[in-house]
């Protein structure tokens, strides 16, 4: 089953083409990593997929239902109410973006209670289970500012998971972390992969991408240059640009 399908995505900022005809589909249970140099459009792709930016052209469908389709003039037309589509995905930000005035537990339960109208007791029980799973059982009542970066990122993963999304996006989830803290976040994501969570991960962690992904996409200049199994793209790339990029990472 296709969880996400993006077709012919185009996006420009002030005449500058950031996405040039990107198509991408993600199957249930699949883990897709998106790599590429900064400015390649990978974050914009993620922001468009999560409706934080709107496409100029192209279509987006979740679970086979179109959230944006091509209008008669070729421009993307969005559904008036995107909330049913927002229910399909979660997004983990590079900067965590936890709510600083709420405790960890409140961060995790607030949206399920307020947005999904789930009973508070049930939401709290599930949140505590999630926090336990992510190694934050003793941090439920702490505030984000009392946590390390790695703990904050794990809390934000818990917040996203609490909404029970079909698909979880990660936007460079370890880029704001000290090197010694990235491991704990990557381990959590790896465990989710083992549980067959569908994920799209924009990352600079090549070894991680290789270990965790079913498919790796290399983007540059607003296009998908190459994609395939991790070993094919990361070890034996067919494209010169991919090779150059990977070389710059090794040196």
């Amino acid at each position: 089953m296709n969880v996400l399908t993006i077709t012919g995505a185009q996006k420009s900022f002030a005449e500058l083409g950031v996405l040039k005809d990107i198509s991408l589909s993600v199957d249930e249970g699949e883990v897709v990593s998106v790599i590429g140099p900064s400015g390649s459009g990978k974050s914009t792709l993620l922001r468009c997929a999560t409706f934080l930016e709107t496409l100029d052209r192209g279509e987006i469908a979740y679970m086979g239902k179109k959230a944006a389709h091509s209008g008669p003039d070729g421009k993307s037309v969005y559904e008036k109410d995107l909330s049913p589509f927002r229910r399909c995905f979660g997004l983990v930000f590079q900067q965590f973006n936890l709510f600083p005035h709420r405790s960890v537990l409140q961060n995790v339960t607030d949206a399920p209670v307020r947005v999904q109208k789930r009973p508070r007791a049930e939401a709290e029980e599930e949140a505590r289970k999630l926090l336990g799973k992510l190694g934050l059982a003793d941090k439920a009542d702490a505030y984000p500012c009392q946590l390390s970066g790695g703990q904050q990122q794990r809390a934000s993963i818990a917040r996203a998971l609490a909404m029970k999304p079909e698909l979880l996006f990660f936007d460079e989830p370890t880029s704001a972390l000290d090197p010694e803290l990235t491991g704990e976040v990557l381990r959590v994501i790896r465990r989710l992969a083992e549980e067959k969570m569908t994920m799209v991960i924009v990352t600079h962690e090549m070894d991680f991408a290789r270990a965790v992904s079913d498919r790796v996409i290399f983007m540059d200049g607003g296009v998908i240059v190459e994609q395939g199994a991790p070993d094919d793209v990361l070890v034996n790339p067919t494209q010169e640009r991919t090779r150059q990029f990977l070389k710059s990472y090794q040196s």
């Binding site: 999560t50 409706f51 934080l52 909330s83 927002r86 229910r87 995905f89 979660g90 997004l91 930000f93 900067q95 973006n97 936890l98 709510f99 600083p100 005035h101 607030d110 949206a111 307020r114 947005v115 999904q116 505030y143 984000p144 500012c145 917040r159 909404m163």
Partner: protein, 216 residues
């Protein structure tokens, strides 16, 4: 007039001062939020109107505004004037709301865009985002500036004397020049009233800031 009588009369006037203070805050703190919304409305005419309103409120003396609110409706349109006290409250609320709106704007604009994005992705409505994510963080950020305004307000209440509202300062002026009164000492006592009141206000606001210091 004995010293005790004078203090007693000032204390009576202080009740009016206190009423102006409390009613102004009750009116202007929420009205400031409404003004802020007008300031960033999608409707350009409303936006323009609010900008002019803020500009006039901040650009002219509150004393003059008091006189306009009290005298102008009658002089210009022959309307029955508001009571002196009601005119004072209207002028103060409208004036302070303009300042509070600008303070709120500063506080809201300083909140990282990531907070809005996190709320949006989680499916919060615009209203939920504002009231549950943005507003609580804004309150913490604006508290020091609001404290400044509130302390200024305590002293500004004395401006009501220009339309002869019998608050503490008006009384002090009358007592000071009355025959057989303690004279200028009256003003010194009034000053002590203002100072002690502001001391209490500053203490309360400090407590409020402490209460919100559980996060950064």
């Amino acid at each position: 007039m004995t010293f005790q009588t004078m203090v007693g009369q000032l204390a009576g006037g202080f009740l009016t001062t206190l009423a102006i203070f409390v009613l102004t805050l009750l009116g202007s703190l929420p009205l400031g939020l409404a003004v802020y919304f007008g300031r960033r409305s999608r409707l350009a005419p409303l936006r323009g109107l609010v900008k002019v309103y803020i500009s006039v409120m901040r650009g002219t003396p509150l004393m003059l505004q008091l006189m306009v609110v009290y005298y102008a409706p009658n002089l210009m349109f022959g309307m029955r004037p508001l009571s002196r006290f009601a005119a004072t409250i209207v002028a103060f609320v409208v004036n302070y709301a303009a300042y509070f709106a600008e303070i709120y704007r500063g506080g809201i604009e300083s909140i990282p865009v990531g907070q809005y994005e996190a709320a949006e992705v989680l499916g919060y409505t615009k209203g939920q985002t504002f009231f549950h994510v943005i507003l609580p963080q804004m309150v913490k950020r604006v508290l020091p500036s609001v404290t400044n305004e509130v302390i200024t307000l305590v002293k500004d209440t004395s401006l009501a004397s220009v339309i002869a509202v019998v608050e503490m300062f008006t009384l002090a002026s009358r007592i000071a020049v009355a025959p057989h009164s303690p004279g200028m000492v009256t003003f010194a006592v009034a000053a002590v009233f203002y100072y002690v009141f502001n001391y209490v206000v500053a203490f309360a606001m400090e407590r409020a800031e402490k209460a919100l210091s559980y996060y950064q």
